[in-house]
Structures are given as C-alpha cells and as structure tokens.
C-alpha cells in the first residue's frame, strides 16, 4: 500500500516537474485566496484593513516561507539540482569557448576512433559468422610430415578418405581456393577474368546457406560426366547480368566452355573469400585423378560437427585416418601424418586479428589521453573557483552537490565529444571499408545496438575518469585553509598543480608508448619497402591471363599464343622488353614441387626436398634484371619437346649443391624426369616480407605437366611511363583472342604496395594516433605551465624586483614544466619496453626493443615538450615587476 502511495507520489511529482512554472503560479494563487478569505473574516470581525492583513499573514506563518515549505515536497529536488548543474556547466563551458572546443574535439577524436575500431573488431572478429550454427563449423587441415606446415591445405584423396570413413561430422565439404575463370562477353561485353571457387555440392548445405534464386548444386552436377553448372554471386549477377532473373538456366561461357546458371547466392554470402564471384562443382571441374591424389595439398576442407561431438574428438578421428594413409605411403614424404582444425571464424579472420586489436588499443589510448586533458582542464577551472567552492562548503553546500557539479560538467563535455565522435566514427568506417576491401568480412561491418551501447559506455566512462580524477581534491577537508588563504597566497592551488602534473605525466607516458609503437611499425614498413625483391621494380607493368583449356587444348596452340603475344608486345614503340613468367617476384607462392638430385645418393625414406616452381620464357631474367650468376638462360630456340632444362636460384644452389658446381647436374622432378641445370640466377622474393626461398625455373615453351602451361604473367618494361601501355597491350591480347581477359593489371610498385598494404595501413594509422596524442599532451603541458606562470606572476615579480636574473627565471620555469614530461617519458619508455613485444608479429626486420626508435621518440618528445614550455617560460622571464606587484 505504502509502496503504491509513494509510486503515485512519484508520478505526481514527475508530472509537476514538467510544468513547474504553472504549478508555482497556481500555488501562489491558492495562498493569495487564502489570505483574502482570512482578511475578509478579520474585517468582518472588526479589524482595520491593515491589522486584518497583518494578522492573516502572521497566522499563515509568512507567504514566502509557506511557499518554500511546499516547494521541496513538489517536484524532484535532485532532478532540479541536476538541471541547475547542467545549466551552470553549460554556461561555464560557453564562457571559455576556445578550450571547450579543443577539449570536445579531442574527446570526439578519441571516442570516434575508438568507436570505429570497436565496430570493426566487433563486426570482423567477434560477431559469429552469418552461417547456420556457426560454432559447429570448423576448417580442417593436414599436418605435414616435416612439421613445417601444421595447417596445410588438404589433398583430394585425403578428403575422400575423411568423407568416407569419419563419423564426427554431419557434413563435410571441399573447396578449391583460387580458381579463376575467363568469363566471355555476351552481346558486345568485354571478356572478364573472375575469381571463383570450385566446391563440392555439399558446401552450401554444410554452411547452411540456400541460394537466393534458383537451386543449389546436386550430386549429379558434381561429377565428371555432368553438364557444366554454375552458381553466381549476387554482386556478379547484378553487375554483369543486370539482376535479371531470366538468367536462370541460361548458358554462360567460362573458359570457352558452356555452363548453365542454376542459382544466385544471397548478397551477404561470401566464401571462402571476399573476391569469389561464382561457384562451380569441383568434381566436375577437376579430373578424377586430381581428386584422389594424397600428396598435392590443394583444397580447403570445412566440416560441420555432429551435435555432441567436440572439435578435438572429430579432429582426432581425422588424424587417425591421415596417419593410416601416411603409413601406407611411407615412400612419399608429401603425404601428411595428422589432421588439424580451427573454428571457421578463426580461419576466416586469422591474420588480421593482431593488427585490429593493436589499433583498438591505440585508439583507447588516445581516448584516455583526451580524458586526462579534460580532467586537466577541469582541475584548472576548479582552481580558479577554489574560494567560491570553499565558501559554499562552509555555508553547508553538500560535498555531493559540489562533486556532481564537476561530474555534470565533464559529462556535458564527453556527451558533446561523443556525439561528434559518432559522426567521425561513421565517416572513418566508410573510409575503412572502402580502403580495406581485402579484409575478410569487411562487408559485415556496420554499427549496431552493441556499438551504440559501447559509445554510451565510453561517454560515461570518459566523464567519470575526467570528473573524478579532477575532483580528487574537492573531498579533502580544506575548507578552512582555502578561506584562510589570502590573495597573497602564492602557493594557492599548489595541490592542484601537482595533480595536473601527474595527469600530464600519465598523458606523456601513454603518448610515448603510442609513438614508439608507431615508430616501430613505420620502421618495419620502411624495411619492408626497401627490402630487395631481387629484380627491377621501376617501370614494370604486369598482367595475368590464363588460356582456357577447352580452346587451347594443344601445346602448339599455347606456344604460338605466347610467341605471338611476346612478339607483338616487344614491337610496341617504347617498350624495352617483355617476358612471360608463372608469377613475378612479390606476386605470391604460386606452387612448388618435390625433387631429387640425380647425381646425389637417394634421400632416406620419408625425407622430402621441394622448391618453388616458376616457368618462364628465355628472356625473362634479362627483362626483369635478374642476374644470371652462372651458366646461361634456356635455349631460345627450343620448343615443346626440346631438352629438359632447369635454372635454379642462388639459394637453391647454396642449399642443395653446397661446395659443388650445379651446372650440368640433373634434377629429378615433375614426373621424375631428369632436368639439366643450365644456369643459376639471383634470388627473388615471392612475397616481400619473406626471405627468398629456393626456386626452380622451367622453360615455358616445354611440356611440363603433360602440356605447356596455360597460366602466365606478362611483364613489360619501358623507360617511359609504363601505365601508358595498359591499353595497347590489352588491345594486342584482344587481337589474339577476343574472348580472353587479362587480370591484375598492376605495376611492380603496385604489386609490392598490395602485399605491404597491411603494414603501411597499420603504420599510418598508428602514426596518426601517436601524433594526435603528442599534440594533446603538448597542449596539456602548455596549459599547465601557462597556468602556473600566471599564478606565480606576483612571486616572480618580487623575485625580479629583488634582482633575479631573467635567464635564471627562464631556466627555472622550463625545468618546472619539463619535469612531468620527463617523468612521463620514463614511464612511457618502460611501458613501451613491456608492451611492444605484443606487436612483434607485426614487425618485419625490426626488434620490438629497437634502440633507434626508442631514442628518436625520447628526443622528439623532449623537443616537443620544450617547445610547449618555451612560451610560458619566456613569459615568466619577461614579467614586469611593477605590473606584477600591482596585482596584489
């Protein structure tokens, strides 16, 4: 009952709260009528008008007092006080628009950056995959015999054994990761090279995804004898086929063969990677033999755990199967010995995790620094109002009320910063998504309720951090001392200065850590960019193509295409050289092969030797400036059934022919045929961040795997702007084959840029954050020192009047200001020494404790800090004693 009563009372109060002015007026009217009634009674009783009024007022107990007594009962005192604080805080902030704006912008940057990074982390790393029961999906791997590749791709034959013999999965699917098709143009469209995934028909059911249009693959589609079928991605369907649903059951031409479009996947679906634009059935696309081999690890395998089966149990069963296959093929070192697994989400986002968490940590650092700046500002304001606050306490103002005033002020600041930050975060996300198309799940990035809650949380925490750190001193019982301090007290607010200085030291500490992190990443990026690929990188243009097997079945057709292409490209005016190669340096792994040296004793059973494989035309080394160290290049005249020649790289010679001359020796490889070593060339890197690996080059005009290769990269070199050859070269390709598309038209610099994108991105962002916090910290230094100088002006005046040297004053003030910077620097260096180990996986060629970076940052920080302190110190040294003493 009494609960209901108080609830009803609360409603009443609330309703009054929102129409307070009317209520106040109404109450005044009620009292007025009370007085009139009383006066009339008194008059009737025979009093004089004056006495009547006086008596009425007396009996009432005073007009204003009565109103006052009712006021606290009406409305909600706490809320009203809060509103008052809000109004007051707002006015305080408006009064110093400059510093207020600076603080709000700092907070907005901090909150905005943290929010954007949190959104990315949440969308990419934390949110479950958009598949059915995603926690039961796992990616399966082979564990290689030599333990070098614990997470290796899966061979077709191994997958077959898993599928037939395992029991832990309700579904298993296999996908070929890097298929590409030449999509022919229809009715005048240009041909196009599209990324694709060949998958077993169970892939979509395994993931629990249905096509948005049409149907999924069936077992009958997924076999060698079936007709060609294809499922399109939503994006490809929209872009290339105008989103027209009549495309279903129509034929399109892929690699010069006909495929029926049977379905279109939903727009959000992408697997196994972002760029995949269509899916084809793998057992139809690959030869039955390729799907049975045990030693060629070409596929992604994904499984859905049966309910009640753990990942460890299921993987252990797969391991047993692999082990059995291994034991049956002891002579083949490339048959793996165990299985491994990862949750599908980890697999999808694996490599980007560390960078994203580092960036998130950096943004939170910036936010913390911004908060400390706000705290510092509030401390300064508090100092200016110290006396006022003391008087209020003395008059009975509650501590809570004073503290709440502080909190409200910082809440106002952080709310404004948060609002602005949200806008910034939105813009930053747009930019991020546009810049980093390469990150998996980037399409999943968007702000949601959790992000909104995160922003609110940030605002509240910022307000609390800033408000509470700045008001530590309020609660101290200093009322009396504050009141006793006369205007002469030059040490006034010394406590506050000390507080601000420790805030500053903290700020500087975090800044130093950010600067060092950024410095390390920058240096690492510099190392990466300056590391030698092993070939010429200026003025080289590359483009990839692959000849459709259906149209270029004969080796002679391929050879004549290669020859025609090179001939015409070399004839273009301005082109210095043109060459063909499987993959240019920096373009990626592109395949390897096991080998034995014919002249060496056989390897012990189970031991393997392999090297990366490239096929190239004889002019390739000269064209890209890769030095021929010994021997010579391939026989320029040899075609098809020419001599079996191989050229090895320097590291190959060093590793497998130590102390002997490899020229003239033979490698047994690619079907155990003897290839004679004709030359040794300089090392090149397959990706820029990895040291060169042993490499074997084979002539592109020779039948290797039963035919001449059909995939190649054309590299051309010119002394002119090489980009101007993009169109002429594409025209040549069109003339040779109107249906053939080229892809990845990139200069060498762009190839390298692509592979260093991560590094440059991390370094740039972290540098931006570090510079931002350096700026904040120096503004903080400047503010505190200016304040100290202003406070000590009278004292300095006295000193000058007594004959202090101005130079000495300058030095004293500078030291005073630099002290917190120095303390912060030491803290920051120590913190960085501990924290940079966490980013060592992002570093290339730089130690986490790199001395140059630490030293540079220390010097930079001291320089910036001195600059920030210089102006206030100079001002202190210029104090005019006459004016200073007049302040008193």
């Amino acid at each position: 009952m009494s609960f209901m009563k108080s609830l009803r009372g609360l409603f009443w109060r609330l309703s009054v709260f929102f129409r307070k002015p009317q209520r106040d007026a109404e109450f005044a009217a009620e009292l007025e009528s009370h007085l009139q009634l009383h006066i009339e009674d008194n008059l009737r009783a025979g009093m004089s008008p004056e006495a009547a009024r006086r008596d009425a007022l007396l009996k009432l107990g005073g007009f204003e007092q009565t109103k006052e007594n009712c006021r606290d009962r009406r409305g909600i005192p706490g809320l009203e006080a809060l509103l008052q604080d809000l109004r007051f805080g707002f006015r305080m902030l408006i009064k110093n628009p400059g510093s207020t704006a600076a603080v709000i912008i700092a907070l907005a940057l901090g909150i905005g950056a943290s929010t954007a990074m949190f959104t990315v982390v949440r969308s990419v790393l934390l949110r479950p995959l958009p598949f059915k029961d995603p926690h039961r999906l796992i990616r399966l791997y082979e564990h290689s015999t030599d333990d070098k590749f614990p997470y290796n791709q899966v061979a077709g034959g191994v997958f077959k054994a898993w599928k037939n013999e395992s029991h832990g999965f309700s579904d298993l699917a296999i996908v070929s990761p890097d298929a590409e098709y030449n999509l022919s143009g229809q009715s005048g469209q240009l041909p196009e090279k599209v990324r694709a995934a060949e998958c077993s028909w169970r892939l979509f059911p395994t993931l629990g995804v249905e096509p948005a249009l049409g149907r999924s693959f069936t077992p009958s589609d997924d076999q060698p004898s079936a007709n060609g079928t294809v499922v399109l991605s939503w994006a490809l369907w929209k872009r290339r086929f105008g989103g027209d649903s009549s495309i279903l059951n129509q034929k399109i031409r892929l690699d010069a063969k006909s495929y029926a479009v049977i379905g279109v996947m939903p727009s959000w679906f992408t697997y196994p990677e972002q760029r995949v634009q269509l899916w084809t059935p793998v057992y139809h696309e690959e030869s039955a033999k390729d799907m049975e081999v045990l030693n060629s690890h070409d596929f992604i395998a994904v499984g859905r755990l049966r309910p009640g089966v753990t990942e460890a149990q299921a993987t252990a069963e797969l391991s047993v199967i692999v082990r059995r296959l291994h034991d049956q093929h002891l002579d083949d070192p490339f048959v793996s010995k165990a299985a491994n697994s990862l949750p599908l989400l980890n697999d999808v986002v694996g490599d980007i995790k560390t960078s994203l968490y580092v960036l998130l940590a950096a943004t939170l650092c910036v936010l913390l620094i911004a908060c400390l700046n706000v705290a510092s500002l509030l401390v300064a304001r508090g100092a200016a109002r110290r006396k006022e606050l003391a008087i209020r306490s003395a008059l009975g103002g509650s501590r809570w009320r004073l503290l709440s005033e502080h909190l409200v002020e910082s809440l106002l600041l952080s709310a404004a910063g948060g609002g602005l930050g949200l806008v910034l975060a939105y813009a930053a996300l747009q930019w991020f998504v546009a810049t980093r198309r390469d990150i998996s799940r980037i399409e999943a990035i968007h702000m949601d309720a959790i992000v909104a809650a995160f922003v609110l949380g940030l605002i509240l925490v910022s307000a609390l951090v800033a408000g509470i750190t700045s008001s530590v001193k309020i609660s101290d019982d200093q009322v009396l001392s504050a009141l006793l301090e006369s205007s002469r007290s030059h040490s006034a607010g010394l406590e506050r200065v000390r507080l601000r200085k420790s805030l500053l030291a903290t700020e500087v500490g975090f800044t130093v850590m950010l600067l060092i992190g950024a410095g390390l990443l920058l240096k690492s990026y510099g190392q990466l960019r300056s590391s030698n690929l092993g070939c010429v990188t200026d003025d080289v243009l590359t483009m990839r193509f692959s000849l459709p097997e259906a149209k270029y079945a004969e080796p002679s057709q391929r050879v004549s295409f290669f020859e025609g292409l090179l001939e015409r490209a070399r004839a273009l005016p301005g082109i210095q050289s043109a060459a063909l190669v499987r993959a240019v340096p920096g373009q990626g792994y592109a395949g390897d092969s096991g080998f034995w040296v014919a002249e060496h004793p056989p390897l012990p059973q189970g031991q393997e030797q392999y090297a990366m494989v490239r096929w190239a035309d004889p002019g390739y080394f000269a064209a890209l400036g890769i030095p021929i160290l010994h021997g010579q290049t391939f026989d320029a005249q040899a075609r098809l059934s020419g001599p079996l020649e191989v050229i090895i790289s320097e590291s190959f010679a060093r590793e497998y022919f130590p102390g002997e001359d490899p020229i003239g020796k033979h490698l047994l490889t690619i079907g155990r045929r003897p290839f004679q070593v004709v030359g040794i060339v300089g090392d090149t890197r397959f990706v820029i961040a990895q040291p060169p690996r042993p490499m074997m080059y084979f002539p592109i005009y020779t039948s290797l795997y039963g035919n001449v290769p059909n995939e190649a990269t054309l590299a051309i070199r010119s002394s002119r702007d090489v980009n101007s050859f993009v169109l002429p070269v594409q025209k040549i390709v069109q003339q040779l084959d109107p249906e053939l598309a080229v892809s990845d038209v990139l200069t060498m610099d762009e190839v390298i840029g692509k592979s260093t994108l991560d590094a440059s991105f991390d370094a740039t962002l972290l540098l931006a954050f570090a510079v931002l916090s350096l700026l904040l910290a120096s503004v903080g230094l400047f503010g505190v020192l200016s304040y100290v100088v202003a406070q000590r002006t009278p004292e300095i005046g006295v000193r000058v009047a007594l004959g202090a040297q101005r130079g000495e004053l300058l030095r004293l003030t500078l030291v005073d200001g630099l002290k917190p910077a120095a303390v912060g620097l030491i803290l920051g260096l120590a913190g960085a020494a501990a924290a940079t180990r966490l980013i060592s996986s992002l570093l290339y060629g730089v130690q986490p404790s790199d001395l140059t970076v630490f030293a540079t940052v220390a010097i930079l920080l001291l320089l910036v800090a001195s600059m920030a302190c210089l102006l206030p110190a100079w001002r202190a040294s210029r104090v005019d004693p006459v004016i200073a003493l007049r302040y008193e």
């Binding site: 009803r8 009372g9 009443w12 009634l37 107990g61 007594n69 009712c70 009962r73």
Partner: protein, 113 residues
C-alpha cells in the same frame, strides 16, 4: 502561545481528513480555521503548515483538489476526500483510538506499593 499545544507529528493529516469528512469539500483556509476552532483554540497552528500536508495527501491520492468559488464569491481551491482518503481516515481513526486506549490504560496504572 506558550500554553497552547503544538500539533503532534502525524496527526495533522488525520485532522484534515476528518475535517473534510465532516464538512465536505473545503479550501485550505477553511480547513485550518476549522482545525483551530475544533481544538477550542487549544492548538497553536500556523495556517501555512496545512499546505504541505494537503500537498502530501493529494500526492498520495487521499484527497483531490479543484478550483471553486467560496460563499462570498472568492475563487478558492477546494479539497475533497477520495474513496482512498475515506479508507485511510477509517484506518487511521481506528489506529488512533487503539493507541489512545493503550496509552490510557498504561497511564492509569497505579503505582505499586
């Protein structure tokens, strides 16, 4: 005023409710006046103190108010009992009587010899 009793804590609300029950809708002045008169001028009552009490009763839903016109054509705010107010009055009257009886018994006890 020295010989007049102050209003006991918590009894004012009961007096107001009883007054409204007896006289029907009435303005604040009338209520204060009536309480004073009923007490035979033994109570010292600042008329102003009835207003916070009225406000509290209104917030709790025991009474409600409405502007009206007094006998001599003055605008005044009239308070009247609600159903809940009547219940409250009954309950509090009972409680009060009980407390009074207990106290009376207590005070009439003879000192033991």
């Amino acid at each position: 005023m020295g010989d007049k009793a102050d209003v006991w804590q918590g009894t004012l609300a009961l007096m107001i409710l009883k007054t409204l029950e007896t006289l029907g809708p009435l303005h604040g002045y009338g209520i204060a006046r009536r309480i004073e008169q009923t007490s035979g001028d033994l109570l010292s009552l600042n008329y102003g103190t009835v207003y916070p009490a009225l406000l509290k009763l209104e917030q709790e839903g025991s009474i409600e108010s409405e502007w009206g016109v007094s006998d001599n054509n003055r605008k005044a705010k009239y308070y009247k009992l609600t159903r809940m107010g009547r219940k409250q009055l009954d309950r509090e009257t009972r409680d009060w009587r009980q407390a009074q009886a207990i106290l009376a018994k207590f005070l009439s006890a003879e000192p033991s010899t």
